[in-house]
């Protein structure tokens, strides 16, 4: 089965290039441009190895996404990695059930080494 990653980010240029990079690992990337659509995909049965989540998005941002995930026992344990350029990320993300942080601008090696353990665990 092809491993799967959910990428929640409203910036199309970032989504495109991350998809291209993860293609190196043969990973299938599902992209949703908002937290609301990301939760909808999970509720519809998507079970990614890891979720890459942007914090700053219109209306339904990363914090909203994490809180919604926590409400649903079927999806609450899926690991979440935050992607952000925010310099106050620690205070913004404190208390959220997240597995890691990737600080923008991200490099290929950082991205791959961060997601690989989750992909292995899922396979």
């Amino acid at each position: 089965m092809t491993p799967e990653i959910l990428l929640v980010d409203d910036d199309p240029s970032i989504c495109e290039v991350i998809t291209e990079v993860l293609d190196i690992l043969g990973v299938h990337v599902t992209v949703t441009p908002s937290g609301k659509e990301g939760i909808a995909a999970l509720n519809a049965g998507l079970r990614p190895a890891v979720i890459l989540l942007d914090m700053m998005m219109p209306e339904t941002d990363g914090i909203w996404f994490c809180r919604e995930m926590a409400k649903n026992p079927k999806i609450r344990d899926i690991p979440v990695i935050i992607l952000s350029a925010c310099d106050k990320l620690e205070s913004v993300a404190s208390g959220l059930p997240i597995s890691g942080i990737l600080r923008k601008p991200i490099g290929i090696d950082d991205l791959l080494s961060t997601v690989q353990p989750y992909l292995k665990a899922a396979s």
Binding site: S13, I14, V17, V21, M56, A85, P105
Partner: protein, 532 residues
């Protein structure tokens, strides 16, 4: 004037024989003389203890204590040492007897039986001397009293001058109230006149004093100062505190008070001396500066986020290209892939350039260096060009642009700056338009061009509508929407530099409509080279 001659002088007559005393009294009896008789040396000394005498007529031959012994004792006493003594004797007039008399302090001799006129004459000389001495003594006393009075008057004048100087100094402090209070009773003894300006009254029981008494900081300082003083702690017992009191017109005033517990005019009486300075303007400026620093810090945080965001795709694309180049697989497919990647990188570079240009524009506007280079411009054509350039971005957001452009809306404008206005308003509409259509209308009204950009997105609350045109201000959380918060500020500055106006109409959830009015001719607007 009081005459010393009217004042009786005391004359002491000392003889153990009453008939002699009677005889002496009879001879010397005269107005102005008060004759005091003593029948022995001891009796004479008793009188001398009680009164002062102008002259003493002293009998030499007396039982128990003769005249010489009596004279010696009289001369030993400070008070009676200077009183002249005339010995009265019937015994001898030989030289050794006379010398003995002079040795013990006699000034003269008179031998019995004496000539009455000579006796009166001699006594009269000493009475005159006594009166003169008395007069000199009294004149000296009067002079001394006058000197004391002069010195006291001088000191009083100096004190009054000093008081006036301090009063001038105290009243000269226009931004502060000088006050003196009793620390025990909290009774205020002095309140300087600026209390009148600040609190409507400088009464020692007025609104300033009432608010002071009820102020927690004042009470803590007062009780603290008293406690320290009673514990015997070494002074100075000084306190500083700030307090917000209410002025006569209801506004609040911030006072910085410096207070000292000190001894008053009497050593045992304590006083509180205070100076309460109006620091409201400083406090307000501090608060504004604090807010400005907060806004600046938030802007720097947002700016760093916005500048970092395009770097992610740029870096990832460059790293991918680097891998592709290192793989030595220079196939036509890979070359094509790299070409596409380079285009994407350039797009991110453009994004970064736009952000840095915005920052540069703010810097230029702040420094008054935004110069307009006016030329003949067709606003409808310009809007059409900008829409064409933004088409990919608009399409990506899922929006449609509905254009209603009048033909040939011409004006003297700075083409690049007006393009910036149109670009910022449309990208703003795309960003907050929730993927719904954006209406763009260009028309004229009298001598002005009217540009309207209307979206149907999230809208702007009424209270935020003026704020969004200010530097660093935004109506939405930076957590939800990116951008530096500079776009509308720059738009307004450019429009106003052209002599135009910008306004917004909006309700939350019903979109926003921005209307720009640009005068078409320079004469109706600003000079050709306009510095903001």
């Amino acid at each position: 004037m009081y005459d010393l001659d009217d004042e009786p002088v005391n004359i002491l007559l000392v003889d153990d024989r009453p008939e002699n005393l009677i005889a002496l009294s009879a001879i010397l009896d005269a107005p102005g003389y008060r004759l005091v008789t003593a029948s022995s040396g001891m009796d004479a000394l008793r009188h001398l203890l009680q009164e002062d005498f102008a002259v003493i007529l002293l009998d030499v031959q007396m039982p128990i204590m003769n005249g010489f012994d009596t004279a010696r004792l009289i001369k030993q006493r400070e008070r009676s040492r200077a009183v002249p003594i005339i010995f009265v004797t019937a015994v001898s007039t030989d030289t050794s007897f006379l010398f003995r008399g002079y040795e013990v302090g006699a000034v003269d001799y008179i031998v019995k039986p004496f000539d009455p006129s000579m006796l009166r004459s001699k006594v009269s000389v000493f009475v005159d001397l006594h009166r003169k001495a008395l007069q000199i003594q009294r004149q000296e006393l009067a002079l001394r009293e006058r000197e004391v009075a002069r010195v006291e008057l001088e000191a009083l004048r100096e004190r009054r001058a000093l008081d006036a100087k301090y009063r001038d100094l105290v009243e000269g402090i226009r931004d502060g109230v000088v006050w003196v209070a009793d620390p025990e009773t909290e009774e205020f003894l002095l309140v300087s006149s600026p209390a009148e300006r600040l609190f409507g009254s400088s009464s020692t029981d007025g609104p300033f004093v009432r608010q002071m008494r009820g102020d927690k900081a004042f009470q803590e300082a007062r009780t603290g100062a008293l406690a320290r003083f009673r514990e015997g702690a070494e002074g100075p017992h000084e306190f500083q505190f700030e307090q917000w009191l209410r002025q006569a017109d209801g506004r609040k005033v911030c006072l910085h008070t410096e207070m000292r517990l000190t001894e008053g005019p009497k050593p045992s009486v304590l006083e509180l001396h205070g100076l309460s300075v109006d620091v409201t303007r400083i406090k307000v400026a501090e608060e504004e500066a604090r807010k400005a620093v907060g806004v600046r810090d938030e802007f720097l945080s947002i700016a760093s986020h916005e500048l970092r965001t395009p770097l992610t795709p740029l870096r990832l694309k460059l790293e991918l290209m680097h891998r592709l180049a290192s793989s030595k697989a220079a196939t036509p497919a890979n070359c094509e892939k790299m070409g596409v990647s380079i285009e994407k990188c350039l797009a991110q570079v453009d994004r970064l350039t736009r952000l840095t240009n915005e920052l540069m524009d703010v810097s230029r506007i702040s420094g008054g260096k935004l110069l307009l280079s006016r030329e003949r411009v067709d606003l409808s054509g310009l809007v059409r060009d900008v829409c064409g350039r933004l088409a990919p971005e608009v399409a990506q957001a899922g929006c449609d642009l509905n254009l209603a452009l009048s033909t040939a809306v011409l004006g003297d404008w700075d083409r690049i700056r007006v393009e910036q206005v149109v670009t910022n308003l449309i990208t703003n509409g795309v960003k907050y338009g929730a993927g719904k259509p954006i209406d763009i209308i260009v028309d004229t009204l009298e001598d002005a061009a009217i540009l309207t950009v209307k979206d149907h997105g999230i809208g702007i609350k009424t209270e935020d509508q003026a704020r969004i045109f200010r530097l660093y201000e935004r109506a939405v959380s930076p957590m939800n929407y990116g951008g530096l918060g500079l776009g509308l500020y720059i738009v307004r500055q450019i429009v106003e530099a052209h002599g135009g106006t910008i306004a917004v109409k909006s309700s939350p959830g019903e979109g926003a409509s921005f209307t720009v009015v640009l005068p078409q001719e320079v004469a109706a607007a600003a000079p050709r080279e306009h510095a903001v």
